[in-house]
């Protein structure tokens, strides 16, 4: 495994360069130990295909998504305008995000506040790279394995992206299994709507346990996800059933990176 190269915008500008795309890492991808691995898998893919990209590093701030979903429009707009100032300052045109929440917020909610960019989720970028022949994908260690994909709400229902992650998984020469509640009818992992940051209300089950149960009923080798929050929730759900030895929870970027020794 080679070392990763991650230039920041500041470094790029200092070298007189401009990136083709900004990689928006997100809070989870920057700080959460599990999600950092996803971030690095995305970087390995970007490095492998020699895309000229940059990150904002310390200049990046929360998109404001959890504040907005929780009803704090003030805080959301403060965050959004700060970020838009930075992004516009670097004259960035295209952004790839490692998180469907950042993706949705920047793509749909920043334009009204002055931030207009082409925004893609990392699964869309990977599919684009495969389609363009820039990224050759092999099944590697996953060949013949059973993989079930859990749709992140803000990628799937929120923005109608159902096929990109599935197309990538199919390229790995695996059996793609579908839960009954999938695509437009997918069940949330339980993290969205700022629930990630608080205890659940009183009920008779945790949402992530309900969802993990549904996925595990298919007896998959991997539960594939495309969101760091879904990753946390599904990992905990799998642990709840003591199935972590048999079933791994992995991001699509991690599947691609590790199957192809990136």
């Amino acid at each position: 495994m080679s070392t990763i190269k991650v230039p920041t915008m500041q470094e790029m500008i200092a070298n007189g360069e401009t990136p083709d795309i900004l990689f928006w890492v997100g809070c989870s991808g920057s700080f959460d130990d599990r999600a950092k691995k996803i971030t690095k898998a995305i970087v390995r893919i970007l490095n492998h295909v020699n895309i000229k990209f940059a990150v904002l590093g310390a200049e990046e701030g929360c998109t404001g998504d959890p504040a907005k979903r929780a009803g704090n429009e003030f805080l959301f707009q403060m965050q959004a305008m700060q970020n838009i100032n930075v992004i516009n300052g670097y004259n960035i045109k295209k952004i790839v995000t490692g998180c469907p929440h950042c993706f949705n917020t920047i793509k749909n909610e920043y334009p009204a506040l002055g931030g207009n960019y082409e925004v893609v989720h990392h699964t869309q970028l990977v599919q684009e790279l495969i389609d363009q022949g820039k990224l050759k994908v092999q099944g590697g260690e996953f060949k013949g394995k059973k993989i079930v994909f859990h749709d992140p709400c803000y990628l799937g229902r929120g923005n109608g992206v159902y096929e990109a992650p599935r197309e990538i998984i199919k390229k790995l020469d695996v059996e793609l299994a579908e839960m009954k509640r999938s695509k437009a009818n997918g069940l949330c992992c339980g993290a969205g709507g700022a629930q990630m940051f608080k205890e659940a209300e009183k009920g008779n089950k945790e949402v992530n346990v309900e969802r993990a149960e549904e996925a595990l009923a298919l007896n998959p080798d991997v539960i594939a996800v495309g969101c760091p929050f879904c990753n946390t929730m599904m990992t905990d759900g799998v642990k709840h059933f003591n199935k972590e030895e048999k079933t791994k929870v992995l991001d699509i970027a991690e599947l691609i990176a590790s199957a192809n020794d990136l």
Partner: protein, 441 residues
């Protein structure tokens, strides 16, 4: 002559009463804040044709969709027969359209009869699902009392209506074959309607002429009285969806579901910090509440959503929080919004058209904080709704009010807000450390 007068008075009375109630509903909906839906007319018409007229989203669940389609199509087609009934009622004629329409008339009534039989099957199945099979979404606690009775009354009413149709046509068939019907005799010996041609002689074949005329009249009057009754029951019932389903889908949200509205009133406060030349978009002399505490703070589409809801509960059966036993039920959000709106409307009726503060509000008296804080904003409820109702939009407005007007959110969320504000992340990490992951590799 007497019956024509009675009929005309009934028709006028029922129409006026219905019109008065429709005006009240329109007024209530317009109590909501203004929101513009200009443009995209062709997309809107397409959505309405597919979702409302074509019942597109119903077919996500095929069995209830087919049963519902029986009722829906019978309801639509029967309107044609109703034209003749109204004409006959006013003019004192009998089957006035038959002689002139000929074979087309026989085809239309036959088609209506077949749909009526299918609708009968559908209605019985729906009664069974609701009362015997105990389908989970149809027995939740928010349906206790009036909502359950409302649903059953309509179903029983529909069965009764269908019985009246076959009494009317069946008895008339026997009369016609004996040349005793008041319909013009075309010398064909039978009205030739698909079902009543067989059902009429079977049920009423042995009755006297008087008996047959009585049954026919009970069927005829029963039919029109049920229709006028149904019309005037609508404004009090969840069945307004048969009308409002159309405008409600026309005004569907055509943007990605993940996109939440931008509050311009907030932008006006925040933007000047970044752009000294920013021009305010809202009127500073007329400040509005952030978010919604009561129905008047919602927009008119939210309120039309509430009147369009037929309480089918698909939203609730798809909601991750409802599924896992939490208090939140998106259907209850819609029912509460309508109940509160009706209460506000009655308050206005009692106070010469102005609302007098009753110390109550949608949030708190109807919807509990616990319900709205449970929401995952996952859009499953929005996706499910067969008439494109958006319960999530209301939940978000209520959250906005609690956070921005009352600073009353769960303490863990306050911590999250503080973290974002201070360090640009929902957790307590320093923004300066944001790129540390690069060095950790």
């Amino acid at each position: 002559m007497i019956s024509s007068i009675i009929f005309s008075l009934l028709l006028i009375g029922a129409s006026v009463f219905f019109f008065i109630n429709v005006k009240k509903i329109r007024r209530n909906i317009l109590l909501g804040r203004d929101v513009s839906f200009s443009g995209n007319t062709s997309d809107r018409i397409k959505t309405m044709v597919l979702v409302a007229f074509g019942q597109q989203k119903m077919f996500a669940r095929p069995i209830p969709a087919i049963l519902h389609f029986f009722l829906y199509s019978a309801f639509i087609i029967t309107q044609i027969e109703l034209l003749e009934i109204v004409f006959d009622g006013v003019a004192g004629s009998h089957r006035a359209f038959r002689a002139s329409l000929g074979g087309f008339y026989t085809f239309m009534v036959s088609f209506i009869e077949i749909l009526s039989v299918l609708a009968f099957i559908g209605t019985v199945a729906f009664l069974a699902r609701r009362n015997l099979l105990k389908v989970p979404r149809l027995i939740k606690s928010e349906l206790n009392g009036w909502p359950k009775l409302d649903a059953n009354l309509i179903l029983i009413g529909e069965i009764t209506l269908i019985c009246f149709i076959f009494m009317m046509n069946g008895a008339d068939e026997v009369l016609y074959s004996k040349n005793l019907s008041h319909a013009t005799n075309l010398g064909d010996g039978s009205l030739n309607f698909s079902i009543s041609r067989h059902l009429g002689p079977l049920l009423f074949g042995g009755l006297s002429e008087n008996g047959l005329h009585t049954i026919e009249r009970i069927g005829w009057w029963g039919h029109i009285l049920m229709v006028l009754g149904f019309l005037n029951f609508l404004p009090y019932s969840k069945h307004l969806h048969i009308v409002l389903g159309f405008p409600n889908t026309f005004y569907s949200n055509l943007k990605p579901k993940g996109e939440f509205t931008t509050l311009e009133s907030v932008t006006d406060v925040v933007a000047p910090n970044f752009d000294p030349n920013y021009v305010a978009k809202t009127d500073p002399n007329n400040p509005v509440r952030f978010g919604a505490k009561d129905v008047q703070d919602l927009n008119w589409k939210n309120l039309m959503d509430a009147y369009s809801c037929t309480e089918c509960g698909r939203c609730t059966s798809a909601c991750p929080q409802s599924i896992t036993g939490k208090l939140l039920s998106p259907r209850k959000i819609m029912m509460d919004t309508r109940d509160r709106l009706e209460e506000v409307g009655k308050n206005m009726d009692a106070n010469k058209g102005t609302f007098v503060d009753d110390g109550k509000s949608l949030l708190g008296d109807y919807i509990k904080h616990e319900e709205i804080w449970a929401c995952n904003t996952c859009n499953a409820c929005v996706q499910e709704c067969p008439v494109n109702i958006d319960p999530l939009a209301i939940i978000v407005e209520l959250r906005r009010y609690l956070v921005m007007e009352e600073s009353n959110s769960p303490s863990e969320l306050n911590t999250m807000f503080t973290n974002i504000e201070n360090n640009g992340a929902p957790w307590q990490f320093s923004q300066a450390d944001r790129a540390n992951w690069i060095k950790e590799s």
